[in-house]
Symmetry: D2
């Protein structure tokens, strides 16, 4: 899909509108077609609401069709490139394109179990999850009733649509689909922001950790950009690693040999993809405090 | 060596005294012989001082002999069982009997470089170190002058002797050769000690971690025994892992899903083997503080 | 009453037993008389239980008599010296002998209102309360029903008796009637206990504060004795004042002028007279943490 | 003086320029006259620099005249209204118009001692100080040499001038003469900002405290406006009082009776009038942390 604006969408003819938004709902331009009637939309939220209403009114059969239009997660279609560009980017964002053979087998068997039980593919708004969290959701949702699960699938489809709208429709008016993860390092030895502290943000997956972001604090003890922003925060387990020992050494603070604190790891989990997580560190060479701030 | 007491040592004939303490200094009963004259000893510290004085008075040549009586660290003699039982136990305590081939090669090459430069084996009081710390010391001491290094070797031999005396001579009078590592978990959500918190103490060796102690907090939020006691604390890097999420779940504290804090890792280093390290955790489900206490 | 021991009480004839314990229950030697039959008592708790049982079995009329045997708080009898020595000491402990005219009038009018409503004097175990807390209890208990209030009075009489027994009967076996308030100061700037920190413990009474204890931390950052021990902790409002600025100045720690932190006040309330309150301070010149510990 | 702008000052004729800025330096329009030549000024800082240069070049005699043009602090001229409107407002800001007779006598005697020693009035940029801090400065500066003290007086006059310029010359370009005091309350019991917490900021003067600002936290746990801003922070002692007990009660958090923490007092001093002081509170009902943040 091309980048567009709400003004262009409101001004376009119906065909243009549908062409622009046909893939907001996977392979289902009929949703855009139905929503086109409700133009003009004063806000992006109003456009999303109209599309959501179109899905609701379409009834059970078409909803099932809509669900079935989605590819399996980490499935053969994805491997063969037979899914929308958005779907590819989404699955990539959670690392579903880099599965080990064992993980691939796990997904394959969960997909089969899910289709056997519910007759539809497993749909989830991948950008709101880490790989580990997708697997937990998968296992959990397999225990649902058919009705609960169809409702869950539609909810996820709306979340996917909201993120696709947010990406494809530019302008100052935004949907509340982004989270933010930030930090701040205070030096309680000297009573000032700690600048120049190297920070690694790791995503944890069982015993493995992979680097999400490497950054450094500025003169105010903050990072120039949030650690994660402009997207939902993937539900999952994380570790911030603060290199305070280099910082205090540069400040010529007397320390033990080896120093009592070296790299400080702060391990935490994100549960609200659209939330604001502020995870600060107050540290001296002998003590530290962290908390969920705002 | 057999277990004995200061009273027995003071009462023994000279041969008995030397038989009892002949291996306090590796393969060097002459130290015990010299110290025997100074009996009776009011304290274990007085006995150690007499032995230290004997070494000092013996002069450079015999000191060199004493140093040379020590085996290489992780050397062939150790592998072949040709060292004192104490030396075996000491090297085992730091994991020197479980080296990978690569580590064995590193020690081998350091031993060679050290002997080439100084003409003596590298002596270190192994019980005061982790394997990583021994390697750091090895590399650091290779940069010493010959005189400084001979002095360092004698200091280490006295430390080894003090620990051997402490082990072989029973009774209430002790030498200050032990450290202590303890913890305490306070629940700042409910304002009381956190009991039943599972704690793992890991020793860190680069990217590897191995379990030193697995324990659990009692009704007072402490562990029944210190995490390490009755021995020097090996200089090295450690991580305490506190399972606060299980604790708060048992207390029916409302938490996010997944909870913000799960296993809390506190990473720290020990620099004083004879020190008291108290590393407490004050935690709510959203915040924690740690510090070096006493 | 004279100091005695449980052994002496068990061995005494009945008259001696009653003479020794006749005033444990105010002007009511019949309680001791009834309990004397149940000798010997293996523990102080068993003796208290026997006395409590004697009160229970005595029935409503004698219980009323027992309640009426108590003086008014801060009443004319106290001013005229017509109450037991224990009662005098107890009222003095909460400052009821040092009331302003206004406070005296308040107690007088509460005493009258209470006697009018319930026909008995207001009885409370004064040693478990501050003056402010006694007034709060007085006002609260005036809202009780007669039955609830008679039960409350008997409970307080048992508490008074327990404290009198604890005071008059010596020996290693104690009743759990004491609380403990302690503190600990950690210097997070240097990672060690803060020694030589001056501490004032103030009791707060509205906008007034009066000194309960002035002390100083020892080499371990603790006080040689608890701030309060060997008695119940009076329910009330307190403030610990830590003179950290003198401490950090003596340590030659660079500080602002004037220093950011000078005297650190920690204000807290005690609700459990028999509890252990540990109120530590972790401080750098720029940051501090406190909590209820154990 | 009227409010003006830098553009108007640059465009005015010399008489207009001097009329507008004649009292920036107390009763000394010659400073404005001298600076007028250097127009146009690209920034307010350039204008201030030109005036400062005029003072510097004027030499010792005129500088003494300039110093003498200032009124005594809390002096008779102030009481009689014979000083500039700016001087009145400045002295009022530090409470010098509300002195007790005793304080008035203290100032009177310090003024006399100062004039006796240095032959000039004591000049200080009052807006950067509390009353207590002015007295400390007064006593301290009385110990200076005459040369050091004349330099100190000129420095203070430049500070006064900078603040007067900042007040009288409008526009987006500002001088760095303001400080900021802010706070933030985090609820570590629930892991979110604490909203609706009543906060009193008190200025402490010995054993007295007077209210500077009464405010309340918003949904983000902050106050809508900084506690102090738009002016220098008066050097002095302060106490923030956070009513956490009302907050936690509204959140239905279980607490002791009386609650362990009620009003939390954070006592601190400000040393840098142009600094940013952020003094946050992280609190559960049983624990809290504060620090100088940024």
């Amino acid at each position: 899909m091309q980048q567009t604006t709400l003004d262009q969408l409101n001004a376009a003819d119906k065909a243009g509108f549908v062409a622009a938004l046909g893939d907001i709902f996977e392979h289902s331009p009929w949703v855009a077609e139905a929503a086109a009637e409700a133009r003009p939309f004063p806000t992006l939220a109003a456009l999303l609401a109209a599309m959501q209403e179109a899905v609701r009114k379409a009834g059970a059969a078409r909803q099932t069709e809509l669900i079935k239009a989605h590819p399996d997660l980490a499935g053969k279609a994805a491997r063969a490139g037979k899914i929308t560009a958005d779907s590819i980017a989404e699955q990539t964002s959670a690392g579903l394109d880099r599965l080990s053979e064992e993980e691939f087998a796990t997904f394959h068997s969960l997909n089969d179990a899910y289709r056997d039980k519910f007759g539809i593919p497993f749909v989830i708004c991948v950008r709101r999850h880490s790989k580990a969290s997708i697997l937990r959701q998968f296992e959990h949702r397999l225990t649902n009733t058919t009705d609960a699960e169809r409702a869950a699938a539609v909810t996820e489809i709306i979340r996917i649509a909201a993120l696709r709208l947010d990406q494809h429709v530019g302008g100052p008016d935004r949907l509340p689909v982004h989270g933010r993860l930030s930090t701040h390092v205070l030096d309680t030895h000297s009573g000032r922001p700690a600048s120049g502290v190297d920070i690694d943000l790791m995503e944890l997956d069982g015993s493995e950790a992979h680097l999400v972001e490497r950054t450094i604090t500025n003169a105010d003890g903050r990072t120039d950009k949030p650690l994660i922003s402009g997207r939902p925060l993937p539900i999952g387990d994380y570790e911030l690693r603060f290199d305070v020992v280099d910082y205090f050494a540069r400040c010529h603070v007397p320390m033990a040999d080896p120093p009592f604190l070296g790299i400080i790891p702060i391990r935490f989990s994100i549960a609200e993809p659209e939330g604001h997580y502020h995870v600060p560190l107050l540290a001296s060479p002998w003590s530290y405090t962290t908390y969920r701030g705002s």
